[in-house]
C-alpha cells in the first residue's frame, strides 16, 4: 500500500474519521462524510462497527450501498431494529451511542458548533443574515452520544472566538464539569477533523488541541487559519496521506457516484 498524492480534502477527512472509529462499537451516523467514514471503517479495521441512524435504523449492514439521507431506505435494509426518531434518540440518551459524528458551519475553541444561523443572537434571530438548516439531530448527538467526532472545513471564517449561535454544545465554556453541570450526558467532543489536521480537547480546559497534522500543513499554517489560539500537543504526529487502497475503497466501492466525496 503505497501513499498517493492525488487525494482531496474530503478524502483525507473520511480516512481520518474512519480511523478514529473502533471495532464493535456503536456509531450514530449523520448525513454525508460520516456515512462514508463509517463504511470505510467497516471495510477496513472495524467490520463489527454498528451504525445507528437518527431516522430509526439500528445496526444495518449497509450492504445496498451508500445512503444519501439518514432516513434513506438503504439505512433500513437488513437493520436489526427499525423504529422512528424518538426510539433512536431515546437509545442515544440512554447511552447506546459510543460515538457520534457532528458537523457545523462554525466552531469555537471548546468544540461548540453552530448550524442554525449567521447573525446576531438573540436580536437578529428572527431575521438572520444567513439562515442555516438548523440543528436536526446534531445538538441531540452533541448532548447524549458518549464521545463525539466533529468535522469542520478549516478556515478562519469558521473557526471563531465567538459563535453566532451555539446549536450543538461541546465543552461549553471549558470549566470543570461544565457538561455535567449543564445537564448533558457523555464526554463531549473527542476528536475534531478538519481539512488541515486532527485535534483533541485538553481535559483540564476543554480547549481545542492540535494532535496530528495533515500533509502540507504546519502548526503555523493551521494557527493562521484559526480565529483563536490553538493548543498544540507535545508530541505532534504527522497524519499519513490516504493509501491507494483507502482511496480505491472510497472511489470505487463506497461512493462511486461522488455523492458526498466530490472527485
Amino acid at each position: 500500500m503505497t501513499a498517493s498524492k492525488n487525494y482531496t480534502a474530503q478524502e483525507i477527512i473520511v480516512v481520518a474519521g474512519s480511523k478514529i472509529l473502533e471495532d464493535r462499537k456503536i456509531v450514530f451516523v449523520g448525513t454525508g462524510l460520516p456515512m462514508v467514514a463509517t463504511l470505510l471503517a467497516k471495510l477496513t479495521h472495524a467490520p463489527g462497527l454498528i451504525p445507528v441512524f437518527e431516522a430509526g435504523a439500528i445496526g444495518p449492514p449497509l450492504s445496498v450501498g451508500l445512503p444519501i439521507s439518514v432516513g434513506d431506505s438503504k439505512t433500513f435494509t437488513g437493520a436489526s431494529y427499525v423504529k422512528g426518531l424518538n426510539a433512536a434518540f431515546e437509545m442515544t440518551q440512554r447511552g447506546y451511542a459510543d460515538f457520534g459524528f457532528i458537523g457545523g458551519a462554525e466552531i469555537d475553541m471548546y468544540g461548540n458548533l453552530n448550524s442554525t444561523m449567521i447573525g446576531h443572537y438573540p436580536d437578529g434571530y428572527q431575521k438572520p443574515a444567513v439562515r442555516l438548516p438548523g440543528s436536526g439531530g446534531a445538538s441531540d448527538m452533541a448532548a447524549s452520544c458518549e464521545r463525539t467526532i466533529l468535522i469542520v472545513p478549516h478556515d478562519k471564517r469558521k473557526f471563531k472566538e465567538q459563535l453566532s449561535y451555539v446549536t450543538s454544545p461541546g465543552h461549553l465554556d471549558g470549566s470543570p464539569n461544565a457538561r455535567y453541570n449543564a445537564g448533558l450526558q457523555g464526554k463531549g467532543p473527542y476528536r475534531l477533523i478538519t481539512t488541515r489536521g486532527i485535534f483533541d480537547f485538553e481535559e483540564k480546559t476543554g480547549r481545542m488541541r492540535l494532535i496530528s497534522v495533515f500533509p502540507g500543513e504546519t502548526v503555523e499554517s493551521i494557527q493562521a487559519a484559526t480565529g483563536f489560539e490553538l493548543l498544540t500537543a507535545k508530541e505532534l504526529t504527522p497524519f499519513p496521506p490516504p493509501t491507494n487502497e483507502e482511496l480505491r475503497l472510497i472511489r470505487e466501492e463506497i461512493d462511486p457516484a461522488g455523492v458526498f466525496v466530490k472527485k
Partner: protein, 338 residues
C-alpha cells in the same frame, strides 16, 4: 435560560387537545375520501399543521399540493426535519402571499441533506417573513410524543445547553430526583396532521415501512389526521401484520389513496428520490434570491400545481420511464422479492 418567556400554546393546549379528542368520532368506519375533500374539511386558516415524514422521505407531498391549490393563510407548521413538503408550502407563499401564507414555523431542520439547502427557507427566514422557533430533532419528536401521550411536557437531556433552549419554550429545571439540570419541552398538539404512509385500510390503520419518522406521534397528538397512502388495502391485510401498523385507526380522520404521494421524494419499497426534479424546483427560486421577481417560481406552480386538478395529474407529467426508473432504484435498496 432560567427565565423563559411567558408560556403560550400554538395549535391546541393540552386541555383543549384532550377535549377535542374526547368529543371526536373515534369509531371504526370507512374514512376514504378525495384529497380535495379531506383538505377542505380538516384544515383551517391559522391552524398548526404537523408535517409527517423525515427530510425527503415519505413526506406528505400530495397533501401539500392540495393545500396550495386550496389556499390557506397564517398557518403554523411543525415538524422535526422537513424537505420538500415544507418547500412546496413555502414556495406558494413566495409566489402569492395573499393566497397562501405561513405565519410561524416550529422546526429542527429544513434542508435536503445531499440535495443542499432549502432556498425557500433561506428566502423567507432572511427576509424576516416568518416567525421561527428552533428545536432539535429529538425536541420536536419528544414534543409530538408528549402530545400523543396526553402530557403537557416531556423531559429531555438534549439540548439543555447552548442557544436552542432560549430560542424556544423549553424550561430547564433542577430534577427533583437527581439535583441535575434537565430540560422540559412542552407538548405539541397540532390542529391537523398531514401524513403519507405505505399502506392503509379504510379505517385508517397505517402500515409504515422503514422509518416511522415521528408520524405515529404526530397523528396521535393532533386533533385531526389526514393520511395519504401508496396502497389502500383490506383491513385483514393490516390486521395480519399488526406490529407493522404504526398509526391506529382512531387517530385518523381521512384516508386518501394517492400512489406516488411522497414524490419527488422517496418512499420505502415504492420509489427512490427524483433528485433532478428537486433541483429543478429549487432552481425556480434563483431569481428571487437575487432580488428578482417570482416569475420562474410562479411558472413552476402554474405548471405543476395550479395547472392540474389532482396530484395524479402532477405525477402524469413525469415520463413513465422516469417513474419506473425511480421504482427500480428503490427495489435495489430493499433487497427482497416482489
Amino acid at each position: 435560560m432560567e427565565t423563559p418567556t411567558q408560556m403560550y400554546w400554538t395549535g391546541l393546549s393540552p386541555d383543549d387537545a384532550r377535549e377535542a379528542l374526547v368529543n371526536k368520532d373515534k369509531s371504526m368506519r370507512d374514512k376514504t375520501m378525495t384529497l380535495k375533500e379531506a383538505v377542505a374539511r380538516f384544515i383551517r386558516d391559522g391552524d398548526n399543521v404537523g408535517v409527517g415524514g423525515f427530510v425527503n422521505i415519505r413526506q406528505p407531498i400530495a397533501i401539500t399540493h392540495e393545500m396550495v391549490r386550496h389556499g390557506f393563510r397564517d398557518l403554523t407548521l411543525s415538524w422535526q426535519s422537513a424537505g420538500l413538503a415544507a418547500d412546496y408550502l413555502a414556495g406558494a407563499m413566495m409566489v402569492d402571499e395573499s393566497r397562501f401564507s405561513i405565519k410561524r414555523i416550529e422546526l429542527a431542520y429544513w434542508a435536503h441533506e445531499s440535495f443542499g439547502l432549502s432556498p425557500m427557507f433561506r428566502y423567507l427566514a432572511e427576509s424576516g417573513k416568518i416567525e421561527l422557533e428552533d428545536w432539535s430533532n429529538y425536541n420536536m419528536s419528544a414534543r409530538f410524543k408528549a402530545g400523543a401521550m396526553g402530557l403537557p411536557f416531556l423531559p429531555t437531556r438534549s439540548p439543555v445547553a447552548g442557544d436552542i433552549p432560549s430560542s424556544n419554550r423549553t424550561r430547564i429545571i433542577i430534577c427533583p430526583f437527581t439535583g441535575r439540570k434537565i430540560a422540559l419541552v412542552p407538548a405539541s398538539n397540532p390542529n391537523v396532521a398531514i401524513i403519507h404512509v405505505n399502506a392503509a385500510d379504510k379505517y385508517g390503520n397505517c402500515t409504515i415501512r422503514g422509518t416511522d419518522a415521528t408520524c405515529p406521534e404526530i397523528a396521535m397528538a393532533s386533533a385531526h389526521t389526514i393520511v395519504t397512502c401508496e396502497e389502500l388495502v383490506d383491513h385483514e391485510v393490516t390486521a395480519n401484520h399488526p406490529k407493522d401498523v404504526g398509526i391506529p385507526f382512531p387517530a385518523v380522520d381521512a384516508v386518501v389513496h394517492v400512489p406516488f404521494g411522497a414524490y419527488p421524494g422517496a418512499c420505502r419499497r415504492h420509489y427512490y428520490f427524483n433528485g433532478d426534479h428537486i433541483r429543478r424546483f429549487h432552481a425556480a427560486t434563483a431569481p428571487m434570491h437575487k432580488g428578482g421577481a417570482s416569475d420562474d417560481l410562479k411558472s413552476y406552480y402554474d405548471e405543476y400545481i395550479f395547472g392540474v386538478e389532482t396530484f395524479d395529474d402532477f405525477i402524469q407529467k413525469f415520463p413513465a420511464e422516469k417513474l419506473m426508473a425511480d421504482q427500480a432504484a428503490e427495489s435495489l435498496n430493499c433487497e427482497r422479492p416482489a
